[in-house]
């Protein structure tokens, strides 16, 4: 067996590349390509909610530009997929932003959001790892994970890693990508993803324990939940969010007159109500673990 080793390929898989793909519209065109740079940030319209502008940092994330962590702050790192990126909702409606705002009232707090639309658990953990390497270990890390079926896979068509998942459509997928994803789907064995992800999450939990930092993680997806719930006793960092997909699409979150509160602009992703609910759970868990306590 030969391995297609290309140093530049591996070197280029850094924390930020996949996010940049999205912005460039190479993969799925989740963000519109048109936008403008202003003061080191890239501004671009949400595709399904024209009145929402995504403010993207230099590295392609919807958060402030990354800087080495200031030890005097309460540093919180959030990560996940489109649910945590805040696809088609205003930035201030994200569970991460509700959480940061809450803690800013107690202590100088800096929150960074590493979420990426379409991200797999694989990529989420890889990016966290790269963030830690570069900027340090935050005081708190919270991840809300997608389904376990997503994965980063190597594509021989473009000699690069691509994000793979089981839900894709021929109409909006380029031919080579469609073939790669079809192959992935055909050979997909969920247990193989599960064993890798469970081990990686275990390592993350141990890293944060060893550093005396807080680590919390959950999932919005019922397939992932059905796996993770089995091992809940072994992960002190695992928690359940109040409402998983698709239940949030039926839940009354009040504020019915507030746009994007019930659902996001694409009518699929959760709105501000779900995000507020998640943030309340997260805040409560962080407060229980933080020495200075809540408000």
């Amino acid at each position: 067996m030969t391995l297609n080793i290309n140093e530049s390929i591996y070197k280029n898989i850094t924390v930020f590349d996949h996010s940049q793909f999205h912005i460039k519209g190479v993969n799925g065109s989740m963000l519109t390509r048109e936008g403008y740079w202003d003061n080191d940030y890239f501004y671009t319209k949400s595709t399904n909610a024209d009145d929402i502008t995504y403010k993207i940092n230099k590295d392609g994330f919807r958060t402030d530009n990354f800087e080495p962590l200031n030890k005097d702050n309460l540093n919180i790192l959030y990560s996940g997929c489109s649910f945590s990126f805040g696809q088609d909702i205003p930035q201030e409606f994200r569970w991460s932003d509700f959480t940061t705002e809450y803690f800013k009232n107690i202590k100088d707090t800096k929150g960074y959001n590493l979420s990426m639309m379409g991200a797999s658990i694989h990529l989420i953990i890889k990016n966290i790892c790269a963030f830690i390497n570069k900027y340090g270990i935050p005081d708190v890390l919270v991840m809300i994970l997608p389904d376990i079926h997503r994965k980063m896979i190597y594509s021989t068509y473009i000699d690069q890693f691509i994000p793979a998942q089981l839900n894709f459509y021929k109409d909006n997928t380029v031919d080579w990508m469609y073939e790669e994803l079809s192959k992935y789907k055909e050979n997909y064995i969920p247990q193989e993803n599960a064993i890798v992800y469970l081990t990686m999450i275990d390592l993350l939990e141990n890293i944060f324990k060893a550093n005396g930092s807080i680590f919390l993680w959950s999932t919005w997806h019922i397939d992932s939940e059905s796996v993770f719930d089995n091992f809940a006793e072994q992960y002190s960092s695992y928690f359940k969010i109040p409402t998983s997909y698709p239940d949030y699409t039926k839940k009354d979150y009040g504020n019915s007159d507030v746009k994007y509160w019930f659902l996001a602009g694409d009518n699929q992703h959760p709105g501000g109500g779900w995000n507020k609910e998640v943030s309340e759970t997260v805040i409560d868990l962080i407060n229980k673990r933080l020495k200075f306590g809540g408000k």
Binding site: M1, L3, N4, I5, E7, Y10, K11, I13, H122, I125, K126, C129, I132, N133, I137, I148, H149, K151, M152, I153, Y154, F161, L166, N187, I189, P190, Q191, E192, A194, I195, V196, L198, T199, M200, I201, D202, L203, L204, N206, I207, A210, N211, D223, S226, V227, D229, N230, F231, Q234, Y235
Partner: protein, 290 residues
């Protein structure tokens, strides 16, 4: 989709981060699935003693002394903070397949460290083990027994992995270079780049854990392909060190080793695994890095 609990729950033990998995050794002890690598043995003082088939051909009585969980080391205990605990891990090379225990590179390192420390050592190596299994077992050891002061892993080729057979609903070790024909489908679907990505990420996470826990972590390989891949990331992985001219396989056989009274000095009893001479040189390399 029917990817639900029942499928995964059947494999709860192997999926659990707290379980140290010894799939190969378990096969050895199960007579129905015996791969004839070892003959039957006997239990004594909480250890299992078993002969090695290949070395018996040389009419030399080489016994493997295995702990309760099937590993070639003392029974696992919670890490004693008063001692300096070293955890070794790897595949058959570090297990010492067809080799007397005292010739293992792990034993030589422990001997050297013991000159000025009270050392407790454990060896998590498994014959046929993959990089993933090596690393996940280290994690399980840490979860169960605590953090060692030093972890050294010698990795096999990156194409090995732990994979899942939907027909039998069981995980198994996939070793493409020596796999039986019935695993051909799994080998054909293997994308080594994907395994490399997983392995690199796991290594980095374990490296971060060790740094934060104040432990030392070192990783190398005897395999040429793995060395080529990992050495690309030498700058990104503090744990990595190259094994220089100690890449094993056919090349190890050709290396010149001084004459030695042991028949296992140039090559192990199976004529395939590295012998005591190689282990001595690798131990020297590790001590250089330490």
């Amino acid at each position: 989709m029917a990817y639900k609990t029942d499928i995964l729950n059947n494999n709860r033990d192997i999926l659990s981060p707290n379980t140290i998995v010894n799939t190969r050794m378990q096969m050895v002890f199960n007579s129905n699935k015996s791969n004839n690598k070892m003959d039957s043995g006997y239990w004594e003082d909480d250890y299992y003693y078993t002969h090695n088939v290949h070395t018996m051909k040389l009419s030399i009585d080489l016994l493997y002394k295995l702990n309760k969980q099937g590993f070639r080391c003392n029974n696992f205990k919670p890490v004693d903070k008063k001692k300096f605990t070293v955890l070794y891990s790897g595949c058959s090379v570090t297990f010492g397949q067809d080799l007397p225990e005292e010739m293992l590179w792990t034993k030589l390192i422990t001997k050297e460290l013991s000159k000025n420390k009270d050392v407790e050592e454990y060896n998590l190596s498994i014959m046929g083990g993959s990089i993933f299994l090596t690393l996940s077992n280290i994690c399980a050891f840490i979860n169960t027994y605590g953090m060692p002061d030093l972890i050294i892993a010698l990795m096999p080729d990156i194409t090995r992995t732990v994979t899942f057979d939907p027909v039998t609903s069981e995980f198994f070790d996939l070793t493409p270079r020596t796999q039986k024909p019935d695993a051909k489908n799994f080998v054909d679907q293997l994308m080594p780049e994907n395994l490399l990505l997983n392995n690199l990420l796991m290594l980095k996470l374990l490296e971060l854990l060790c740094k934060n826990a104040g432990s030392k972590f070192l990783v190398s390989t005897y395999d040429g392909l793995t060395e080529d891949c990992f050495s690309m990331f030498a700058n990104d992985l503090d744990c990595w060190f190259d094994s220089k001219n100690l890449i094993s396989g056919p090349r190890s056989v050709k290396q010149d080793y001084e004459e030695h009274e042991s028949p296992y000095w140039k090559i192990a009893g199976d004529g395939r695994h590295p012998g005591g001479g190689w282990h001595e040189r690798f131990a020297k390399r590790v001590l250089e890095v330490l």
